[in-house]
Symmetry: C2
Subunit: 643 residues, 2 copies
């Protein structure tokens, strides 16, 4: 056994005992302190900055730090290794905490259950509670207890293929008699079978709740739904704790493929996140975990694999094939999810390795697959997923946008949590006119919507040209070489920030942002071209995902992230993934329909399309090399409206 | 903690450490030595005779023993309590061992699989193995591994509603690739769903075996079936170890209802018995337990409850309602059965508290529910179950015959194991002409078929009259008062027996045997009367159960156990329960049909029929008060053919 040391984390007052040579980030995970990381521990993102206050460490480059920081004890947690007892401070910007406010909800029109009837959707949850007053047995009517239950239940819900587990069957005789033959059957939808998942004494029908979850690479969102009426009671969210092991799915797939321990660790993290959100909801609405009989989960393909413990390794290797895109319902307890012990987890179906259940849920929620008009749904996240179609066809593609808009890959980037600049206007090339931050806190960084505004405004004031290159002459005072040698523009000086650090945007940051927006636009354009269509053929472009409803749509068009359509034809749908998960939960027909939707969706592989690279390069301009595709932007720029 | 003592059992060389005051029978169970008991430990059957060779005991009446036996140390194991370290000898007649030869097999015409096609039965086992060569994935064909499997499997077996458990799904990606996409899917029939219970590398189709079990109150029979062709490879049987806790189902129900520990103990015994028989079969045919993917089990309603751990208590209380008569398939491992870890246990359906899956299996096996002609199937066991019907109707009843024909309730009664007299003829009222024993061993007792012969022969030589009363004048030398004061006839003197004990038949024994045969005949007669039929309306009477093919049918008619029909219309079907369990296993349509059979069978409650008691009293005569119902017997008796 190697010698072990105690590592204390501040201000958490949490600690862990680890062998000599362990990385600080591993020690933190063991202590339950979640540290931000984008690169998954490769030492290249520079996010996992911590301060060693006492003790000795080895390893860790100084590339990411100023001289002062190195003297203060700054080190990368993924590189620094424990060589003595340590006291480590985890500064706020390194923490994987806070509430991801922007992605917690769907838009109102998707949340309004009263509109479902108009869409021909009946309320018939995946897990139902049916109260039954059974006739007591007699010599003339002496079928077994199970048959008595099934006969009454069959009459009540019009089903006949029932299945009940051994544990419940063993409890049944005593339960029926103690309850004086009045019981509530809890039934789960399993295709042609109806599973009697539990039987409860008396009428418990008023306590039947569901958690609908959207499991994103960056954020996890849970809604609490009353299955009696489909109303959403509460919405909560948190960052996905797996982010300590990489900001994007590829890094996490590599990590879990390295060992069964790694796989288990990431699985326990996402299960832990879900359980934490479920506890938050049950505490707030004074429910017992037993009142939650159902979890309906959407998410990208990799997240669904990591949740279920399915091997994800092949997703990242050509031909990008996952283990299962259409899993049946599982006992939630088998996964470790803390709801009713016999409650079910319904994972919604995925389409391909990089087109997940989140997109299929969005198609369901928006109803686009029932319309005559053709619509495009763009889900902007670490991975951009795009689908085009109507009642006749559905074609989708996936664009590896990278996590720039999720606050990664940019020096001052951060998630949309407390202190993140989420909106911003420039007065001129030297001055910010105004900005807002999440939580109205002093600024500590910039989140995705802030960067969209910032790039658009920098273009307007000509701080950058249409290639995105910083023009030093426009702001010789604020454009300066960074310590890494590239140019950067000072957005907010350290004196005004919440962490006493300059907020900047560098040439490299801008390039990353342009690649991200270029990938999404190019994917949309290539997909339409393959269909012999243009953006003008679309009735609407629906925008879902990380930006929530907070994106400044004019700026998104101005930088060429979104196509230049009339704003009547652009619509935010917020977190349409969780909206679809809810719809599936309250309507078993909708759940079944999702499997049809997934099956009839054609996946278009961009990586093998010969035109994609050209389109991508063109789309990395502002807004595009062919500005005529953006007539309104062209008009604004040529009218000299840019400042 | 009470003081504990060590109890050694001989000749087993097994021992157990138990607290002072424990009964010897409990100590024996703990040591794995199974002792015969009929009354379930109430001290009234006198079967659990053991000899204390060393040490001190308390309790235990001497009622059942001779002076010599008491001096030798004989005691009832259920009454004697451990008060010091003990050495206990368990004599052969007390042991619950030996092979129940009589009930191990079905009759040849039910065993012949080649006849199935003629009955319109196709070979389609409940668990199938299908070898699939999957197309490897490509960018053009990149569905998930699970979908790839399901698509190929769907084409191969014409099913589409699949369900696969999480554990198998997790293993799938690596398995498919290591096996170079050639795999064998193991699928289980679950009504409208097909469960993919396992996936194996390569072609494993040639190793797919089933164990079909008949779980009787007294005996457990297992057949090994090759599911490729439906052929029976091996047949084994043993006594049900639960017999230590009562010879009949009522005593066992009372025992298990007393505590969860009791319930678990009896469940573990029957599971242990099945596992022992499975091991015997797999060893003999050089199979791994993994090659057995399916157990198909028939048995009476109580035995099915005890196997599954379902509460049986209400079966014995009016209105005699069990927990479940139609259980779905369960994972065999969940019950503790040692076959393939993911193999399934299919329990066949029961009809009522005292009409079990064994009878329904018999109806299936004999094909009587497909015929125009009306047949009666009589299953003679501890409980007599009778069913009458054809394609249009099925009506059944249950007669509590008691265990007299299973070797219980008679002084010299024993099961049909080594040394049991199974056939016998008398020369005259003083002499046995000849007899045969099971295993051709020296006689130690009389089994059911032996008693049928004995009672018939005693009537013929007028040792008893038609009321069953012993006529001392006919054999003053051999009819004598027993030590309990009643008359008995000496069948075989101690000097000629294998255990140096007289084999006798007492007036009480005869009365018990008459009640047993009377209950079965009366039940048959009342059931027919309720249908406005007589025995003459039956195309055939089919006889199944404990007597196997060893019953002397003429003697069974002579004593009035069976109706007096021409022997062409009487047919033995042997263990039709295990035959039906096999048929269900190799033909999923037959399995499904059994649930229809059970559902359309009307249960006729004899206990509330006002004519039953009269019929029963009449049927306790030899052969019946109304001898005109037995014309051939009448002819034989009046012709003075009786010796």
């Amino acid at each position: 056994m190697a010698k072990t040391y105690k590592v204390q984390f501040r201000p958490d007052e949490a600690s862990a005992e680890v062998p000599a040579g362990t990385t600080i980030i591993s020690a933190a995970t063991k202590a339950g302190v979640f540290i931000n990381s984008l690169c998954g521990g490769e030492g290249v993102c520079g996010r996992c900055r911590v301060i060693v206050r006492q003790g000795t460490t080895s390893g860790g480059s100084i590339e990411f730090f100023t001289r002062e920081e190195v003297q203060q004890g700054y080190i990368l947690a993924c590189q620094g290794r424990v060589e003595s007892d340590l006291v480590v401070e985890v500064p706020p910007e390194t923490r994987l905490t806070g509430v991801p406010e922007h992605v917690v909800g769907e838009v109102p029109f998707l949340a309004d259950v009263s509109k479902l009837a108009g869409r021909g959707i009946r309320l018939a949850p995946l897990v139902r509670k049916t109260c039954l007053q059974l006739p007591p047995p007699s010599l003339e009517d002496n079928v077994s207890d199970l048959q008595r239950l099934e006969q009454s239940l069959g009459k009540a819900i019009g089903s006949k293929n029932f299945q009940m587990g051994l544990k419940v069957t063993r409890r049944l005789p005593e339960l029926l008699r103690k309850a004086d033959w009045k019981v509530t059957a809890v039934t789960g939808h399993r295709g042609p079978l109806t599973e009697i998942i539990d039987v409860e004494a008396g009428d418990t029908g008023r306590r039947n709740f569901c958690v609908a979850a959207d499991i994103g690479t960056t954020t996890v969102v849970c809604h609490l739904v009353d299955l009696r009426d489909g109303q959403t009671l509460g919405r909560v969210a948190k960052y996905n704790s797996q982010a300590s092991f990489g900001a994007d799915v590829i890094r996490r797939i590599i990590f879990v493929s390295q060992s069964p321990d790694n796989e288990r660790a990431l699985r326990e993290m996402i299960v832990g996140d879900l359980n934490e959100l479920i506890r938050e909801l049950t505490a707030k609405y004074r429910l017992g975990t037993g009142d939650i009989s159902l979890i309906s989960a959407a998410g990208n393909t990799t997240m669904m694999h990591l949740l279920l413990g399915l091997p994800a390794e092949n997703i990242r290797k050509e031909p990008y094939v996952g283990a299962a895109y259409n899993p049946p319902p599982f006992r939630a307890a088998e996964i470790g999810l803390q709801i009713s012990p016999r409650g079910l987890l319904y994972c919604l179906p995925c389409v391909a390795g990089f087109v997940g259940a989140d997109l299929v849920a969005g198609v369901l929620a928006t109803g686009m697959a029932h319309a005559d008009d053709v619509r495009m749904l763009i889900d902007i996240g670490t991975n951009g997923e795009i689908i085009v179609g109507n009642r006749d066809f559905l074609v989708c593609a996936s664009a590896s946008a990278g996590p720039a808009f999720e606050g990664a890959e940019c020096r001052s980037g951060m998630r949309a949590t407390r202190g993140a600049i989420d909106h911003l206007r420039l007065l001129d090339a030297d001055h910010v006119l105004n900005y807002s931050t999440v939580g109205s806190a002093p600024p500590v960084g910039i989140c995705g919507t802030g960067y969209v505004d910032l790039v658009a405004e920098m273009l307007r004031v000509r701080l950058i040209d249409r290639t995105g290159r910083l023009n030093r002459e426009v702001s010789p005072r604020k454009i300066r070489p960074s310590q890494h040698g590239e140019l950067e523009w000072l957005v907010v000086p350290a004196a005004w920030t919440g962490n006493n650090t300059d907020i900047t945007i560098s040439q490299g940051d801008i390039n990353n942002l342009l690649r991200a927006k270029g990938a999404i636009y190019a994917a949309s354009a290539v997909l339409l071209k393959a269909l012999n269509m243009t953006f003008n053929d679309l009735a609407e472009v629906l925008v879902a995902g990380a930006f929530g409803n907070f994106l400044n749509i004019a700026n998104a068009v101005f930088i060429g992230l979104l196509p230049d359509l009339h704003q009547d034809r652009m619509r935010f749908v917020g977190n349409s993934s969780v909206a679809g998960a809810k719809l599936a939960a309250i309507c078993s027909d909708c759940y079944d329909e999702m499997f049809d939707l997934a099956a009839r969706t054609t996946y278009f592989e961009l990586s093998t399309d010969p035109t994609f690279m050209d389109q991508f390069v063109s789309a990395c301009f502002l807004p595009h090399t062919n500005i005529e595709l953006f007539p309104n932007v062209m008009a604004e720029m040529s009218a000299g409206k840019t400042r």
